[in-house]
């Protein structure tokens, strides 16, 4: 059952103030991913204190420490915005749902995926290093993207 909005707003804002755009509806998600091109980071947010409580600061640390950026950054909130989250997951359906998690996509294809199990129990600084590596892999020029 979703938490009261007042409880989760700080968790939303922890991402949006980094420049991450929240997708709250199925229409929001489809508008972004139905014809996706370029590079995207999709953060599946969660209220889980032990995992998401480390993952959000880790993303902030990664973005502060690295210049590597995807073209776009989005989030959906698992357990809160149920339909939007389910729709977003349908765009990376090979990957089992877990939250928090982070998908890194190029032209709609998953290039890297950080599952919840890769987040649990780790310090945000450790996870930030993984995010930086994924972002650098995502954004480095390839023969296909020049």
């Amino acid at each position: 059952m979703p938490y009261h909005e007042i409880q989760v707003r700080p968790m939303r804002e922890e991402l949006t103030r980094l420049g991450v755009k929240e997708l709250r509806t199925v229409a929001d998600v489809d508008a972004v991913f139905a014809n996706a091109s370029g590079t995207q980071l999709v953060f599946v947010n969660s209220v889980c204190g032990c995992a998401a409580g480390g993952a959000r600061p880790a993303l902030a640390m990664a973005l502060a420490a690295s210049r590597a950026r995807p073209d776009e950054m989005y989030s959906v909130f698992a357990g809160q915005d149920l339909d939007a989250t389910a729709r977003a997951r349908s765009y990376f359906a090979d990957y089992e749902p877990s939250s928090p998690s982070i998908a890194f996509l190029r032209d709609g294809e998953v290039q890297h995926f950080i599952h919840r199990y890769m987040i649990e129990g780790r310090h945000p600084q450790q996870l930030a290093a993984d995010i930086i590596a994924a972002l650098e892999g995502l954004t480095e020029p390839t023969p296909a993207n020049g």
């Binding site: 968790m11 204190g49 032990c50 959000r56 902030a60 649990e120």
Partner: protein, 93 residues
């Protein structure tokens, strides 16, 4: 920021995705909830059966690490006497 919050008073593995090997053919990958006199309480449980046709346990774990935990059960209480080992999925293979 909301901070890096663990769960005081909970088992060290609470919330962690673990691989639970049993004395029998079944191995479980699941989120550890707690452990008490009744056994180990697991959430979002995927199962590998060594006795069934299909991928080996190593293949199952490699796939699980790449694509995530394909949970077939929301909850499982595993009696303690059936538990041979509990390890973090992140530390496997």
């Amino acid at each position: 920021m909301t901070g890096f919050v663990m769960h005081p008073g909970h088992h060290d593995l609470h919330g962690i995705t673990v691989v639970v090997e049993t004395a029998g053919p079944l191995t479980y990958v699941a989120r550890f909830d707690t452990q008490d006199e009744r056994g180990v309480h697991l959430l979002n449980v995927a199962t590998h059966d060594r006795g069934a046709p299909g991928p080996t346990l190593d293949e199952f774990l490699v796939r699980t690490k790449k694509f995530g935990v394909k949970a077939a059960q929301k909850y499982l209480l595993l009696p303690q006497e059936q538990v041979r080992s509990i390890r973090k999925l992140s530390e496997m293979l």
